[in-house]
């Protein structure tokens, strides 16, 4: 068991690209679920339309990188509008089912081989990130402190990623202190009361869905840039469930909840992953009990258990306030 590797890999994961991607996705969910009480279970779709907007723009249509970023953002807004119109007037569980369905519709459509020319089918799209790495200020090499380090490309993605996280947190902080944010929280607590004050609840919910979706698209950009490719099956429903676990772990309706949640989540996931893998290769866990291909399943089992235990015993997570969690509505 090499504990140095276990710790450095875990810490790299806790501040690395997965943490950034899931923080952004979770901030989006926090706006929708934490502040407004909307159960958007299709965050993976918002990430996917962002990533695909960027990749299709550059790799398929040969457009400018920044224009393609705009396409990705516009696609996320469009998806929010399309999803919101039929579902925002309905009960929470309907919204949950329809948003998951929409995410699957998008994923199945882009992986269909008939549209391979545009979307790349199951292989997805590559070679769209050139312009982003052309302006990389970091020279070739490893950057980091002690055993925790990243190569120049990852460092550049992380720099931009954490800046985006900071900006999103700032935007959420300012918005939720504004009258607009107070209306959102009031909708979460009692929709009819807000309606009786003459507010257009549907419109506020829609704005919340759009804002959260756009932040989800930012997560999709970072995902696409960090791996240099966009593949349909990276946007499976599990991505959304992970992000929900992060929101609830950190504390819903708290500005820094998603950030803390994502860091702890990935620290824990990668740590348990590494310990299991090393214990298997060192022979502490016999192959008849578990081999390395089963470690991935254990990760999901732990996440599922964590989500169940959190919701049952500590729905407010680390920082949240139990009275602010929208879990009792029917």
């Amino acid at each position: 068991m090499n504990w140095d590797t276990i710790f450095s890999v875990s810490v790299e994961s806790a501040i690395g690209t997965s943490a950034v991607i899931y923080t952004l996705a979770a901030i989006g969910i926090n706006v929708q679920f934490g502040y407004t009480g909307l159960l958007n279970f299709g965050q993976a779709a918002f990430m996917a339309v962002g990533a695909y907007g960027l990749a299709i723009g550059v790799a398929t249509w040969g457009l400018n990188f920044w224009l393609s970023v705009g396409i990705g953002l516009a696609a996320a807004v469009a998806l929010a509008l399309i999803l919101g119109v039929p579902t925002l007037r309905l009960r929470a569980d309907y919204l949950a089912i329809v948003t998951i369905a929409a995410a699957e519709i998008f994923r199945i459509t882009v992986r269909t081989s008939n549209y391979r020319d545009v979307t790349g089918g199951t292989d997805g799209l590559q070679q769209f990130s050139g312009a982003f790495f052309d302006i990389n200020p970091y020279g070739r090499g490893e950057y980091g402190i002690g055993p925790v380090s990243f190569d120049e490309r990852t460092t550049w993605v992380l720099t931009i990623g954490w800046i985006l996280v900071a900006l999103c947190c700032l935007v959420v902080y300012l918005l939720m202190r504004s009258p607009w944010g107070r209306v959102l929280k009031a909708i979460r607590e009692d929709e009819d009361a807000v309606r009786s004050l003459g507010k257009n609840v549907f419109s506020y919910k829609m704005q919340s869905l759009v804002l959260g979706g756009v932040i989800g698209a930012l997560a999709g950009f970072i995902f696409a840039l960090s791996t240099g490719s966009v593949t349909p099956d990276s946007y499976a429903p599990e991505v959304t469930f992970f992000a929900y676990t992060i929101v609830i772990l950190g504390g819903a309706a708290r500005v820094l909840g998603p950030v803390v949640g994502a860091v702890i989540f990935w620290l824990f996931i990668q740590f348990s992953d590494q310990v299991l893998r090393q214990a298997i290769s060192a022979g502490y866990i016999p192959n008849s009990v578990m081999d390395t291909t089963q470690v991935g399943a254990v990760r999901f089992i732990l996440v599922g258990l964590g989500l169940m235990l959190l919701i049952i015993f500590r729905p407010q997570g680390i920082f949240g306030d139990k009275r602010e969690i929208a879990l009792d509505a029917r």
Binding site: T87, A92, A101, F241, I248, F300, I301, L305, L307, L327
Partner: protein, 426 residues
């Protein structure tokens, strides 16, 4: 009444005695990079066909000849792009490629992965598709749609009744479907029983899991006063746990039962159907009819509908609500297990089959009206037909998209579903 639940579970299992079936499909194997596939012509495996593999625009890597199950596999040295060609001269007399341009396929193999390659062949080759216009496929598609719709309906009945009686939107219902299929695989292949007794045992196991889940978990959460949205998120966590426990023990491959997997189809006019599918449909119809009659005619069925209508009123009129809920869970889970076994006989067994149809089940339930048992039946049949008939207009790979789109459209114009009562759902 617990006895009644167990007896009904056993009865449902017993129905499976009438069962036979299956269709061949590709199954993955473990190892390094490889390309593989299964050659099937009109439901029959095609043996002795030579497949050549070479690096795209480069040297030959190897070749393989399909075995008597139609399977072939060529190991390739590393990830990359490969050209796979089928030697048409080795095809049996009268069998040909449906699309002659696809004699050579180019695919990307990712490192560490096995890529499945599909050559579409049929008796008569290219002529088989051309002679058949789009509309000639309609009767077969309608038949397949009804069959698939009935399987979805089995899963949907339990989901809808559980929703109706407890208010829980259960995202872990798909895992009960998978449990039925996996349980039957365990008793059939690992233990070595014939598929029919294996299926009965698996249905009992699924029913038992439904009972235990409610007895020790959901019932406890209800008594704690956990909110409905919280319970829904808990069910998502539970689904993740169960699905990956299956993955842990069963691994990621798709596998086949050892009985009734390859059968010649029978022709009824324009519709071709295997005997096993026919028996499967008979079981589906009998179960649905039995549940329907039970709901309408028996005391327990009336009690169930009363609880679904208004739990507090039902309790105050002397109905033991908890007992009704427990029976609904047990029977619902057992029926979901039946759905899983029938589905696995038509496709193959894998750890996420239940999750893959869960959204279609939800679509069926919502289309018909959440919480209404007969709505679930109607909605599921519509979903099954939509899925099959939509292949007339959209690519086969996208057939589930049509059903999910209908779900969204129905919510736009009739949110309470086709048979649901027009009450506020917002």
């Amino acid at each position: 009444m617990r006895k009644a639940a167990i007896a009904l579970t056993a009865f449902l299992g017993g129905l499976l005695i009438v069962l036979g079936l299956g269709a061949g499909s590709a199954s993955a194997q473990e190892g390094g990079e490889a390309v593989q596939g299964t050659l099937v012509s009109a439901g029959q495996p095609v043996a002795g066909v030579k497949i050549d593999v070479k690096v795209e625009g480069g040297v030959a890597v190897g070749n393989a000849v399909s075995d008597d199950k139609g399977k072939w596999r060529v190991d390739v040295p590393s990830g990359g792009r490969y050209e796979i060609s089928l030697d048409t001269a080795t095809l049996p007399e009268g069998v040909g490629l449906i699309n002659p341009d696809q004699q050579t396929l180019r695919v990307q193999v990712f490192s560490g992965n096995v890529r499945t390659v599909l050559f579409r062949i049929a008796p008569g080759g290219a002529a088989s598709e051309k002679s058949e216009s789009k509309w000639d496929r309609v009767p077969q598609l309608i038949f397949d749609g009804i069959n698939f719709g009935l399987i979805i309906a089995l899963a949907a009945l339990g989901l809808s009744l559980i929703y109706g009686t407890t208010g829980l939107t259960n995202f872990a219902h798909g895992e009960l479907v998978t449990l039925g299929a996996l349980g039957a695989y365990y008793f059939n292949v690992t233990v070595g029983l014939n598929l029919i007794p294996a299926a009965i045992l698996a249905v009992v196991v699924a029913g038992a899991l439904g009972y235990t889940q409610d007895r020790f978990f959901w019932g406890w959460l209800r008594r704690r006063g956990t909110g409905l949205i919280a319970m829904m998120i808990v069910s998502i966590g539970l689904a993740l746990v169960l699905r990956n426990l299956y993955l842990y023990f069963f691994r990621g491959q798709s596998r086949q039962y050892s009985d009734y997997t390859i059968q010649a189809g029978l022709d009824f006019g324009p519709v071709n159907v295997t005997p096993a599918t026919l028996f499967g449909m008979a079981i589906e119809i009998v179960i649905i009819a039995a549940v329907g009659i039970a709901l309408l005619r028996t005391r327990l069925g009336k009690a169930t509908r009363a609880v679904a209508d208004n739990p507090s009123l039902a309790a105050s009129s002397g109905i033991d609500v908890e007992r009704v809920i427990r029976i609904v869970w047990t029977v619902g889970a057992a029926i979901a297990g039946v759905a899983g076994i029938l589905l696995a006989m038509q496709q193959s067994v894998n750890y996420q089959m239940g999750f893959q149809i869960l959204l279609l089940v939800f679509a069926g339930v919502i289309l018909g009206g959440l919480g209404t048992a007969f709505g679930a039946l109607v909605g599921s049949l519509i979903v099954g037909l939509m899925i099959q008939l939509s292949t007339l207009f959209i690519p086969e790979e996208m057939k589930n998209v049509g059903a999910l789109l209908v779900l969204i459209v129905v919510l736009l114009i009739r949110p309470q579903g086709i048979l649901g009562r027009a009450e506020r759902v917002g």
